[in-house]
Symmetry: C2
Subunit: 760 residues, 2 copies
């Protein structure tokens, strides 16, 4: 009855709905040594319990890592999480370990030395059964499993538009649609095996003793019925109807031929909350297990492959149904075709080239006729190229890497390359680079700690973290619901902040406030005798701030005033306070990290010009907060600063000579952040904690001016620690990646504060 | 030694410091009936206990109200608070009562019928003593007392610049400066009496039986030694030195001639924390009691008079000191001059015209030479005009209002006029009109409740309220520290809000989100069949929102999309939901008020055009939230709306016919807010409370779409109450001044939530 479903979609112009849906992924990979041998160590302890971790688990063997994504409304979002999880997993490996990039396992030791994961007694019994039936080695193959749901909106409107009279209920229509996809998927899965097959051979010790092995390279050992992980019994289950499907599994489980209703390997499974309720509650997703690890990609699979899987999946819904009476024979033929493609020579064109070509051409037509999004059309094109030219298939490409009947050398090379790439630039988290660095750091720590992660809004850096029943939303890496909404308002208003802190007995720099340039200039005589700081009343990151360490000239003061007015209707003139600026990061009311913030500077090497020294220092720095440290700007302010010192960009400073290039001790203007957490006198930490408490903030960044960090601040001399400013959304990144000194694990500390139960 | 103080200031260019200082004010006024008789009622109960109220107290008699301001760093700020307090006091009077606008009391009943305020036993004894010595009637005169402090910065820098070697300590210099001001103030106080004297006569029953009374009108009965409230004993206290001053008072108190060291009436008093410590701790301010109530002003005194008092006060510091040996005789002469001016004929030029003229000319010169701020120079000029022309003095002006030996008729007229003015437009609070209306409403309620009020930042609407030890800061009238900082972030992000509320099981309108015009237009076919709302993702007050109640045409939809993109990088298209929009105001987790928000409309009267009806309705409305309701805009949107309905501005609607002029039910676009607090089914209140709780907000505005407010929302039909939006800073003003229906005391309710102890 669903043969004309495509026509209905065309008639009612439901194209956009076709490309919705829900997408999830599981991906296994073996942990190996840098020599490509199976690791003998335990799963990384830094990732906590692999059983309770929602994303980073182990399968079967202790060495078999498993990355499990959440379910997303787009492939792209799912892929982003996959990238982040892969990065975190790799970064938590022992430095001597790598992830094996192939689905087929590395050279295996004897069965008994393969360490299985610790599981419940029941699960243990099931495993023994699996090993007894299919052999342990098959279990060591690493699979990728996709969980795809049909777009609910699409099914609902189709039902309303056309199928209301043809089915007894929406549920029946819904289940029929899923069943159709599952049937067609099996019919055409040889297409996927041709496109994605990536296991031309097995390494030493894979085959059971006495087992015949293929004489030559093949396309997909992993998915072949004969050699792969496919379960013989499971492959006999009928897809003729949902009832028969359920019945089949139930029977085999009862007969002990299947261990349970979930864990068996077939290319496609109909999944719901519970097998016995599948008909009455409805199928919720299909589990597809056709893909193999692609060792040419960093994540074992490329986004374009996944895009293709999405459109292939929905294409199965649009294709005609198979006649019910011919179903068994067609699927039997399909299984044979699949085995034929799986075991054919990957260095030649496919034996089913004509069918492949026809299928992919039809699919291209579909992608255009049904207005598939650009990325899906591109994916079909890309796969069409693989059909046209077998040399573009992963199986062919891998066949070129075989050396001495083994892919080990190649696999180790890829594993090392991936490791290097994943452990570089760890201030970023792959898949989340568009978020602020502090948010990326928080997410990395959350993934590592096994918290559930949801990005609510990328633009706003709003993320939701959960652990068991507890949920916390965090903005910009450090803004949490633990703090009151006035803390930020008061921190942002510098005048009010000073008024309040001054009234509470804290030392704050003397300051005056102006609303017009005229009044600010009238008071100039008052400022002509001391160092002053001219700044907009509200402001971030030192924008519009001018520092006069020495008494300013009238003209320079006037420029500073007019600059500050560009940022706010009210400006402030403060006394310049000698000493250095320090950032105290308060988490849970306690100072967890301290940075000294040193204005932009270079140190002479005796032969480079100041410009060369700046350029060299800038090599590891970024702009607009894309790296933990900002580039020293080669702007007017820097030049003016040099001129004031009688220097030029072409000056060559004496070796070891420190040249300051800026006055504001702000990391955003190219300054250096130096960790002082264990060095600063503890009295300043207590001071910062009291300031945060005064604003009722448990998480805060408190900026103090300190003359001598080793000399305690006292009640008699509060001016030793002047409170400069406070923020309710402190950056985490500089503490994690200081220019000099020890990194502080502040992202993890923030999570510990938010989720004490997750860190027992 | 302080004779050349002015020269030091000129030499070091310390002019700006001269005009700093601290300023406070107390002002008494008698409560009378609309007939001008002393009230017999108690102090208004709505103002709480007059003893513990920080601002609105009573003096001596129960009828004698006393307004006490805080101490401020400028006259202007002090005057703003005075205006607010006067307004609140008047608004809390019984409708049949007024404030007597003169310092001299109204016609008095017999002594024994004057009700005294309830006070402690000790204070009661003192009062009896006062009455016995000076008579009760003198105590019924209403005074204005100014508390002025010299600018501390000025004294500190003067000491550092020049006086460090001339005094043993800063404190000695500081006290000497205050003493000099007090001495000179007494010397020249006849100037003030000329300028501000406003008591030409006394009403019936003022004089004690047998007491001689002036034969004709005078300038200042109130301040005359002979008839006024001056204390005979106190006037003999020596100002020769601070020690003698303290000694004098102490002796008189010991002898029982003065009841205590604080409460006695002399024109100027040196005040500190404690009389016995005055020398060792230093004088903190002078208390000046020269002014009289000015019945020609709304607040009993004008700001320009207070400005003059400020510059007069500082001028006393600059004038030469009196030679110590001639001090007594000079002050004796000054007292005589003062009495002469006080009792001279106000309808003629002063008998001391020559001195007055010389003094004011010198003062004008001072104001220019010492770079006084413009407002102070203006104040001196204004007073110079009074010197030149006695017809500009209050005493002369009052003499013209005397009728039948009484000012009663005039006083009642002025009292009524003031009452009318103070009780109009009560959505505003005088002195605070630049703040948001909700903040003004909150401050009015705070003043009434006897909370301590401090405005931290007018631009940001940040106010600090205190009661006993508790302090709360509030922004924009309703943003408090009770709520977490994420609530607002989540409320502001409509997409995330919907995601969260939807996930928590609340009914939210279906919506899609777009980042480009192209994608929004691609989905048009989907919106061509139903009503939709196109809006920017973030936004306030309906800006950029277009409502299509009926399915839009493509062109109109495109315009709406591009309009929304002007307000945000991301826009949303929502299903249009039928029903009305309601605002639920949650305070302390409970719904305290509900408004139905009706789109802009007019009701036909059968003869006016739509334009006339709009203009009529707009008469009581304002723009940019300066009034509780906004004008209906006569803009393109309104015209387009009429055109859609086949109407024009010139159309004359049938009598009683309701014509809608807008689609968005937002008070900001000219809609009507109708109170429904007691009408709406309570299930919606519970729904709104649950929504606020979901965001952990105790104070919130929750907007719901409700189809039928009398029909309960149920778990089975959550769509009966759709959650549209939430705000963490709800406006209070519409609930206090709805277009129709009962006003809800939400400002007071918010204060009750914040300060439960203040409302027991």
């Amino acid at each position: 009855m669903l043969n004309h479903l495509g026509k209905q979609i065309q008639k009612f112009q439901r194209f956009p709905f076709l490309y919705e849906g829900q997408f999830g992924l599981e991906k296994e990979a073996q942990r190996v040594t840098t020599a490509g041998e199976l690791a003998t160590t335990k799963h990384p302890a830094s990732l906590g319990s692999s059983r309770s971790h929602p994303y980073l688990k182990t399968n079967f063997a202790e060495t078999q890592t498993k990355v499990v994504t959440d379910r997303f409304s787009s492939i792209h979002k799912m892929y982003q999480q996959l990238q982040g999880l892969d990065a975190v997993l790799t970064q938590n490996l022992a430095p001597t370990e790598r992830l094996w990039p192939l689905s087929m396992p590395p050279q295996l030791p004897a069965d008994q030395t393969i360490k299985l994961t610790t599981v419940t007694a029941q699960k243990h019994a099931y495993r023994k059964q699996l090993i007894a039936k299919d052999g342990l080695k098959q279990q060591m193959i690493s699979a990728i499993r996709l969980n795809f749901s049909l777009p609910t909106r699409l099914l609902l409107v189709l039902y309303e538009d056309h199928y209301q009279d043809k089915y007894d209920s929406y549920l029946e229509f819904h289940n029929a649609a899923y069943l159709k996809v599952a049937q067609n998927y099996q019919r055409y899965r040889y297409i996927l095996t041709y496109l994605f097959g990536a296991s031309p051979l097995a390494e030493t010790n894979f085959y059971q003793s006495g087992q015949a092995k293929p004489a030559k390279l093949v396309r997909s050992l992993a998915s072949s019925q004969k050699y792969g992980y496919a379960n013989q019994t499971a492959s006999q289950i009928s897809f003729a109807s949902l009832a028969q499907y359920v019945q089949g599994i139930t029977t085999y489980v009862r007969q002990g031929k299947l261990a349970n209703s979930r864990e068996f390997s077939v290319p496609v499974q109909l999944q719901g909350r519970k097998l016995s309720k599948l008909t009455s509650e409805g199928v919720t997703y299909l589990e597809l297990s056709n893909l193999e690890l692609d060792p040419f990609t960093l994540d074992g699979i490329s986004e374009v492959d996944l895009d293709f899987m999405q459109i292939f999946f929905i294409y199965m819904l649009i294709l005609p149904s198979m006649p019910q009476q011919k179903l068994t024979s067609i699927l039997q033929l399909a299984a044979e075709q699949h085995e034929q493609v799986a075991l054919e020579d990957p260095t030649k064109a496919s034996t089913l080239q004509a069918q492949l070509t026809e299928f992919i051409q039809e699919m291209q037509k579909f992608s255009v006729d049904f207005a598939a999004p650009h990325r899906l059309q591109i994916a079909v094109k890309r796969m069409a190229e693989r059909v046209i030219d077998f040399k573009k298939t992963p199986a062919y490409l891998l066949s070129q890497q075989v050396s001495q009947q083994s892919l080990s050398q190649f696999a180790v090379k890829q594993a090392n390359a991936a490791y290097t790439q994943q452990t570089q630039a760890v201030y970023q988290l792959r898949g989340y680079q568009d978020l602020s660095l502090s948010t990326q750091a928080l997410l990395r720590a959350a993934f590592q700690a096994g918290l559930q992660v949801e990005v609510l809004d990328r633009q706003d850096n709003l993320v939701k973290l959960s652990y068991q029943e507890q949920t916390e939303i965090i903005k910009q890496g450090s803004l949490t619901s633990k703090d009151n909404q006035l803390g930020g308002e008061l921190s942002a208003n510098k005048t009010v902040l000073k008024k309040l802190l001054g009234a509470a007995g804290f030392a704050v720099p003397m300051s005056a406030e102006y609303r017009t340039q005229a009044t600010a200039l009238t008071d100039f005589p008052d400022y002509a005798k001391r160092g002053v700081v001219v700044k907009p009343r509200r402001g971030h990151s030192g924008a519009g701030v001018t520092v006069f360490k020495l008494p300013p000239k009238r003209a320079a003061y006037a420029v500073a005033v007019s600059t500050a007015f560009k940022f706010d209707r009210t400006i402030m003139v403060e006394s310049f306070v000698a000493g250095s600026q320090y950032r105290f990061l308060v988490i849970g009311g306690k100072v967890k990290a301290v940075l000294e913030q040193i204005p932009a500077n270079v140190v002479g090497d005796g032969r480079s010009t100041i410009q060369q020294l700046i350029e060299k220092k800038n090599l590891t720095r970024g702009e607009k907060q894309t790296k933990p440290m900002e580039k020293i700007p080669l702007d007017g302010a820097t030049l003016a600063n040099l001129t004031q010192q009688g220097l030029q960009l072409t000056t060559i400073p004496v070796r070891g000579n420190l040249v300051y290039l800026g006055d504001t001790a702000n990391p955003v203007t190219g300054g250096d952040a130096v960790d002082m957490t264990t060095d600063v006198d503890v009295s300043y930490c207590h001071l910062a904690e009291r300031v945060a408490a005064e604003l009722k903030l448990t998480v805060a960044g408190v900026d103090l001016f300190i003359d001598n960090p080793y000399k305690a601040v006292t009640d008699e001399h509060p001016e030793l620690g002047m409170v400069l400013s406070v923020t309710n959304q402190p950056s985490l990144i500089e503490h994690l990646f200081p220019y000099f000194g020890e990194a502080q694990p502040v992202a993890q500390q923030l999570l510990q504060f938010l989720f004490p139960k997750a860190f027992h």
